[in-house]
C-alpha cells in the first residue's frame, strides 16, 4: 500500500517507514525471550523468534476492534512493553469500531494488506481461504496450553486445525430485575419456558411501559438470541457440515418465541431491536428480564444503580438442557509470506499471553479472560461476574468453525426478526435456503 501517500495513516502512528531506518543492531533479545514468563515453557517456545529476533527488525500490523474507550491505550501498553524487548519491531496498531469491522478486515485482505494479527469474532472464512497461519505456528504450545480447554476448542476449524486462539470470552445469562419480579409476585428465577412466559406475561401486565422479556432479534445479535431458544429445545443449527436450520426442534423453538411475541410478553418490535436497545430498557427499569453479558451489566451497575437485578441461567424448555451461550473473540494471524513478520508475530503473541501482560489487557476489554489461571483468579476476586465464570467451562458456542456458519449468521441476522409476522417454519426454511445459497 501507499505509505508514501500524504493522506494515508495520518497522525496516530507517525511515519510508517521509520522502523526501516532504525538501527540495525539493536538490543540483544536472548535474555528477553521468556525471562518474565511465569510459564516456564515459553522460554523454549520463544527461542526461534528470539534467536532470529536478536536483531529482528520488521513491521507487524495489528487490527483490533474497540471494546471500550480504553482499547487503544490497552493495546498500546502491550506494544510498549513488547518494544522494550523487541525495539526494532515496529508494531502498527489499528483500532476500529465493531460496527463494520468485518468490511474493514475484508478490505484489508482484498487490498493485499492483511494484518499480521487480527482480533476478531470469527475466523472460518479466512481459514477457508487459506490465508491464515494455523495459530500453533505463531504461538508456543505453552501459550496455547494456558488457555482454558473448553474455550480453546472454539477456535478449531471444521478440518480439525486450530486456526484461532481465543483472547477474551463472554457468556450470556438471564439478568432479571428483582424489583419488577417482586411487584409481579414472582419469587424465583424461571427455569423452564413455561415459567419464563408466566413471569414475562405478569411483568408486562404491570403496565406503564414495562415489558417482561427482552428479545433482541435485530440485525446485531439475532443469531445469539435465536441460538438460546434453539438449544433450549435440544436443537442445533448444524449437524456435521450440514445445516439443520429448519429441524423440528428448531421450528418448535421459534414457535415458542412467537408465542412470547404474540402474548405481548416481549418488548415491542423484537425483530428490529438490538441487544443495546433492550439493555437500555432494562437500565431504565422498564424491562423484567433479558439475556445479558458482563459488559452490559457492568454498565448497569455503574450508571444505573437504582436497577436491582440478579443473574440466572437461560431457561430451557423443560429446564434440563443447557442453553448458556459462550462467546469468544479470537486472535488470528494472517500469512503475509514474510518470515520476519511471522517471527515477530509469534514473539508478540507469546508476549501478549504472558500473565502480567494478559491480565490487565483482558481486564481492559470489560470481558472475561480465557487463560485458566486468569479465570481462576478472577472468579475469586470479581464477585459480580461469578455466575459467568462458573459457567465458562460448560458453555456452548455458536458453530464458528463451520464453513457455512457465516452465511447462516448473515441469514439469521437479516431474517430471524421476521418471526413476528411470519410462521416459524417459513422463517427457518427461508433462512436455511438463504444460508445454503450464500456459501
Amino acid at each position: 500500500m501507499t505509505d508514501s501517500s500524504p493522506f494515508r495513516r495520518r497522525g496516530r502512528f507517525g511515519p510508517a517507514r521509520w522502523a526501516a531506518l532504525s538501527l540495525a543492531g539493536a538490543l540483544l533479545l536472548s535474555a528477553c525471550g521468556g525471562d518474565d514468563e511465569g510459564d516456564s515453557g515459553s522460554d523454549g517456545a520463544a527461542q526461534p523468534a528470539a534467536s532470529a529476533g536478536a536483531d529482528l527488525s520488521t513491521t507487524i500490523k495489528i487490527l483490533a476492534p474497540s471494546y471500550t474507550d480504553t482499547s487503544q491505550a490497552d493495546w498500546q501498553k502491550v506494544i510498549t512493553g513488547f518494544n522494550g524487548k523487541y525495539p526494532n519491531v515496529k508494531v502498527e496498531l489499528q483500532i476500529e469500531a465493531w460496527d463494520g469491522f468485518t468490511e474493514k478486515v475484508q478490505a484489508r485482505i482484498q487490498g493485499q494488506d492483511a494484518p499480521d494479527i487480527l482480533n476478531d469474532n470469527n475466523f472460518a472464512d479466512y481459514a477457508n481461504s487459506d490465508i491464515l497461519y494455523p495459530i500453533d505456528e505463531v504461538m508456543s504450545p505453552e501459550t496455547l496450553q494456558s488457555i482454558e480447554p473448553a474455550l480453546l476448542k472454539n477456535g478449531v476449524g471444521e478440518d480439525g486445525t486450530q486456526w484461532a486462539a481465543p483472547d477474551i470470552a463472554s457468556a450470556r445469562l438471564l439478568a432479571y430485575n428483582t424489583d419488577l419480579f417482586e411487584q409481579a409476585g414472582i419469587s424465583a428465577a424461571p427455569k423452564t419456558w413455561d415459567e419464563l412466559l408466566d413471569a414475562a406475561t405478569k411483568i408486562s401486565k404491570l403496565g406503564g411501559g414495562v415489558y417482561g422479556y427482552g428479545m433482541p432479534l435485530g440485525q446485531e445479535e439475532a443469531q445469539v438470541e435465536a441460538s438460546l431458544w434453539v438449544w433450549g429445545n435440544g436443537g442445533d443449527w448444524v449437524s456435521g457440515s450440514d445445516l439443520t436450520v429448519a429441524s423440528e426442534q428448531n421450528v418448535a423453538a421459534f414457535e415458542e418465541m412467537k408465542k412470547f411475541i404474540d402474548a405481548k410478553a416481549t418488548q415491542p418490535n423484537p425483530g428490529a431491536s438490538n441487544r443495546q436497545a433492550v439493555a437500555d430498557l432494562f437500565n431504565q427499569g422498564k424491562l423484567g428480564m433479558y439475556v445479558s453479558h458482563p459488559g452490559l451489566l457492568a454498565e448497569t451497575r455503574s450508571k444505573f444503580p437504582n436497577v436491582k437485578f440478579e443473574v440466572a441461567p437461560m431457561p430451557t424448555k423443560d429446564g434440563s438442557a443447557s442453553a448458556n451461550l459462550g462467546v469468544t473473540d479470537f486472535i488470528e494471524a494472517f500469512d503475509n509470506g514474510d518470515e520476519d513478520r511471522k517471527a515477530a508475530t509469534k514473539a508478540f503473541l507469546d508476549y501478549l499471553y504472558t500473565p502480567e501482560v494478559y491480565g490487565p489487557w483482558a481486564e481492559g476489554t470489560g470481558l472475561l479472560p480465557v487463560t485458566s489461571a486468569a479465570i481462576q483468579e478472577k472468579s475469586a476476586s470479581d464477585t459480580n461476574n461469578k455466575p459467568f465464570y462458573d459457567v465458562l467451562s460448560s458453555v456452548r458456542f455458536l458453530p464458528q468453525g463451520n464453513p457455512n456458519w457465516t452465511a447462516l449468521q448473515n441469514a439469521l441476522q437479516q431474517n430471524a426478526g421476521s418471526i413476528a409476522t411470519q410462521s416459524a417454519q417459513e422463517v427457518l426454511s427461508g433462512i436455511e435456503e438463504q444460508a445454503n445459497a450464500g456459501g
Binding site: 435485530g218 457465516t406 431474517n415 427461508g430
Partner: protein
C-alpha cells in the same frame, strides 16, 4: 431571471438555433489540452471502474472477496434469485421510491416556490429556512429523524403521543412498510430545497408583464398558473425531475440508516447492492450494480422519450 442572464445554451439540441453564430473551428489537436484533464478523470474514475465492475460481475469470488475464477452469469442469477429476497418487491420498491419522492417533491416545490416568489416581509428568512436541509448533509438530517422516531427516547414520538396523535410511541423504523414510508418522507424533506430553488429560478424567469397581461385579460389565478406560468416553468421542472430521478435512484444513506426492519421488504436495488457486497461478495454485488444501472438508464430513457421534456415547445 435574477442570476441567469444566459440565453438558451448552445449545446446539443439547441444548436440549430444558434447556427447563425457557429463557434470558431478548431482541430482535435488544439482541443485536447483543454479537454484532457476532464477526459482523464472521466475515463479513469468513472468509465474504467464501470468497465471493471462489469468484468467483476462475471468473476467468481468467495465471501471475503478472494477471486476464484470465472463465473459466467452465475452472479446475475444469484443477484436476481437469492433465496429470501423477493426481487420483484425490491424492483417495485425502487419504482415507488423514485416515483413518489420525485413527484411529491416537485409538487410541494411548486407550491413552495410560488409562495417564496411573492413579495412579503421576512421572505429572506423563509427562503433561508428552506435552504437549511440543503446545507445539512443528508446523513445528519437522517440522524435527527432516526433519533427522534426512536420509540423509547425519541422526541418526535413523545411529541406525537403528547398531542394525542399516537396512543403510545410507535416504531416507525421497526417494520418494513412504515420504515419505507418514513424514509420517503425524509427523502422528500431533504430534496425540497433543491427542487424548490430550481423551480423558483424558473419562476423568476417568467416575465411579469405576461402574467399581468393574462390577468388583465381576465384569467383567473388558476388559469394564469396552469396556462401561463406552468408552461414557462417546463424547463425548470424537467431539469429538476431528471436530476431528482438520478439522485433519488442512487440514494443510499436514508434507507440504510432508517430501516431497522428485518428482511428485504424495505430494500431498493441500491441498498440491496450494499447488503450483497457484505454477504455474497463483490461478484454478486457488481452484477446487481450492472442491473441497477441498466434500470436507471431505462427509466431515464423512458422519461426522455415519453415526456420529451427537452423538446422545443
Amino acid at each position: 431571471m435574477a442570476t441567469t442572464t444566459a440565453p438558451a445554451p448552445s449545446t446539443l439540441g439547441a444548436r440549430p438555433r444558434r447556427a447563425r453564430r457557429a463557434p470558431g473551428h478548431s482541430s482535435l489537436f488544439t482541443a485536447l489540452p483543454w479537454l484532457a484533464p476532464a477526459l482523464l478523470l472521466i475515463f479513469g474514475v468513472v468509465l474504467y471502474p464501470a468497465g471493471y465492475m462489469v468484468y467483476t460481475s462475471f468473476r467468481k469470488f468467495n465471501r471475503i472477496g478472494v477471486e476464484r475464477g470465472g463465473a459466467g452469469f452465475d452472479n446475475y442469477q444469484q443477484a436476481l434469485d437469492y433465496p429470501g429476497v423477493n426481487i420483484g418487491r425490491v424492483f417495485l420498491n425502487t419504482f415507488i421510491w423514485v416515483a413518489v419522492v420525485t413527484v411529491v417533491s416537485i409538487v410541494i416545490s411548486l407550491f413552495l416556490a410560488q409562495f417564496l416568489n411573492k413579495q412579503f416581509r421576512g421572505r429572506k428568512l423563509v427562503r433561508l429556512a428552506v435552504v437549511v436541509p440543503w446545507a445539512a448533509s443528508v446523513v445528519m438530517t437522517t440522524s435527527i429523524f432516526f433519533y427522534g422516531l426512536n420509540p423509547d427516547y425519541g422526541i418526535i414520538n413523545r411529541f406525537l403521543v403528547d398531542v394525542g396523535i399516537l396512543d403510545s410511541p410507535y416504531g416507525f423504523t421497526k417494520s418494513a412498510v412504515p420504515a419505507f414510508i418514513t424514509a420517503m418522507v425524509v427523502a422528500i424533506f431533504v430534496s425540497l430545497p433543491f427542487t424548490t430553488y430550481t423551480i423558483l429560478s424558473g419562476l423568476q424567469g417568467v416575465p411579469d408583464d405576461v402574467v399581468e397581461a393574462a390577468y388583465v385579460d381576465g384569467a383567473s389565478a388558476w388559469q394564469r398558473y396552469t396556462k401561463v406560468i406552468l408552461p414557462m416553468l417546463r424547463p425548470a421542472i424537467s431539469i429538476a425531475t431528471l436530476i431528482m430521478i438520478i439522485n433519488v435512484f442512487n440514494s443510499l444513506p436514508i434507507l440504510q440508516i432508517l430501516v431497522e426492519a428485518p428482511g428485504y421488504d424495505a430494500d431498493i436495488t441500491t441498498t440491496l447492492i450494499f447488503k450483497y457486497k457484505t454477504v455474497l461478495g463483490p461478484g454478486v454485488a457488481s452484477a446487481l450494480s450492472v442491473v441497477n444501472f441498466l434500470v436507471v438508464m431505462t427509466v431515464i430513457a423512458v422519461y426522455l422519450a415519453v415526456l420529451r421534456p427537452t423538446k422545443d415547445r
